[in-house]
């Protein structure tokens, strides 16, 4: 069951945009502020940002779609990120990632059918001396193995 897409009021979006306009190069701070507030960058924000920064909508869309962090669809209630980079691979990270994909029954960036968990790849959390590494709802985890991952997923799915 996909999560409802937030539909914030235009005034609310506008005030989040306006709060960043004093910065040099305000677009990324604006997009972060919107995503922090709504979990996505709302489609309705695109023309408002374009007008505020005097750039085209295509430009705004281009920026949003360039960066891996910005979402157009909400994530599940919990987000599990697993490091796919080389240092974690050297410690069995690829097998851990395969296990997570199978356990959740999703592809990368996918969300479980019940909307509980989204699985994201991440290329390095800087935990390269204690891999394989993962991040669950912002909490960092080192030396993760399949059993521990199953336990964590079991807890957040409950």
């Amino acid at each position: 069951m996909p999560r409802d897409i937030p539909q914030p009021e235009v005034d609310e979006i506008q005030s989040l945009i306006d709060a960043q306009l004093h910065l040099e190069g305000p677009l990324l701070p604006i997009l972060h502020a919107l995503q922090d507030a709504y979990g996505i960058v709302p489609v309705a924000a695109v023309p408002l940002i374009a007008a505020a920064l005097n750039i085209s909508r295509a430009e705004v869309h281009g920026v949003i779609s360039f960066y891996h962090d910005f979402r157009s669809l909400p994530a599940g209630r919990h987000v599990v990120k697993i490091c796919r980079a080389e240092a974690c691979q050297a410690m069995g990270g690829a097998a851990l990632a395969d296990h997570a994909l199978a356990r959740l029954g999703v592809e990368w960036h996918g969300t479980t059918e019940n909307g509980a968990v989204t699985l994201e790849p991440v290329y390095c959390l800087g935990l390269c001396a204690c891999g394989p590494a993962a991040m669950v709802d912002g909490k960092l985890l080192g030396r993760v193995d399949a059993d521990r991952l199953d336990r964590i997923i079991g807890e957040i799915e409950a």
């Binding site: 190069g25 677009l27 990324l28 997009l31 080389e86 240092a87 800087g126 390269c128 001396a129």
Partner: protein, 505 residues
Amino acid sequence: MKIYVPLDSAAKALGADEVAAAIAAEAEARGLEIELIRNGTRGMVWLEPLVEVEDGGERLAYGPLTPAEVPALLDRTLDTLGRVEDMPFFARQTRLTFARCGLTDPLSLADYQAHGGLSGLRRALGMTAEAVVDEVKTSGLRGRGGAGFPTGIKWDTVRMAHASQKYIVCNADEGDSGTFADRMIIEGDPFCLIEGMIIAGLGTGATKGYVYLRSEYPVAIELLRQAIDIARADGVLGSSVLGSGRSFDMEVRVGAGAYVCGEETSLLNSLEGKRGVVRAKPPLPALEGFLGRPTVVNNVISLATVPVIFEKGAQHYADFGLGRSKGTIPVQIAGNVKYGGLFETAFGMPLGELVNDVAGGTASGRPVKAVQIGGPLGAYFATADFDTPFGYEEFDGQGGLIGHAGLVVFDDSADMLHMARFAMEFCAVESCGKCTPCRLGAVRGVETLDRIAAGDTGAVPLLTDLCEVMKDGSLCALGGFTPYPVLSALQRFPEEFGTVKEAAE
């Protein structure tokens, strides 16, 4: 009694927050008065959470500590590792850039100054801009982000440029696997980076700084923002740095998950609010950088090394090292190793000594097969290359690069064709799309490696040719250096590319 529990991301990932909470609760239950300090890490990640207890003039280490061991810790009946400074991994290091990391409270300016902090800045405030730049030139400091360009020369270009506004931009988009030195110093000694950026401002005439920090580092983002607020409140940053009448202020900007933004020109585009596509050079960022103005773009470690150069003198720094690789390098030991962590040492230590001796070989206990050095764009070295001394030119001579000085060790279970394919796959995911060799080449590279994996050895020359085109024709290091891991794997482990393989795992 002071108790130090690291707040470093790696320590947290191994349970430091739980240990800190257990210590606070147990001390409260006992009515024991303690000062709980969340410090940076000492860099011995295999011992994290590494807790230190300072009592009666002695500071002793315990670790890796579990919450269950906390009562024994407070009883002082737990076996200690002794003083950190006496432990072999630590005692062998030359800690210049990381001298305070893990030793002090990262958010205490008083602690920072008690351990040499701000003395470099005070000295720089009494010097002309030209003298500041000359000091950096004399130190021999080269860009620690990987390119190895002399920092003083870059600063001099910005110093001599005429503009109403110049900038210092710190590249903290540490996306390379196997590297964590930037994160570690920001979390463990953030004032050191701030001080380095102010000195860069004094040397170049820049009054505004930005730290472009990756979103994957939430702890570092929070810490650095707090440190900047503290520095501003105490007059270290602002319109009159330490009362000198010279102005410098800075802020943190958070990235958005694009690896290519670690490349300096795409970083500048990202900072301006554009897609992180690479810019052609020239113009150099030193002349036309952020918003088209003269800009120093330096890596975290380059900037965080500046304070100690001014504190102890450029010659002191330059006296360490090997040939044109002067000073120290924080080697990050990662992947499949027994003793992983940060090891700061003068340039020149042979690779094999770092891997076999300092890192203690593999964690799995199996033989070392390959070491990737310098991140996802770095070459794979084999044990036959272990006598290579750690230095810019020395690694270049072996068809590699030191990059940001991360070592990722693999045991004999590593599948080198798979790792070569991963390098191309990663390049395809992260390519900004600006130049053709990278945008198309990475995708074709994956395809070609799949052909080789399927037994088509006739595709090997095609792969080599493709890599040459990517090397010579790409605009930046992403497309230009992806061939390093691919070709080094092919050259050093040819047998893995020559036969039909089982399907990749």
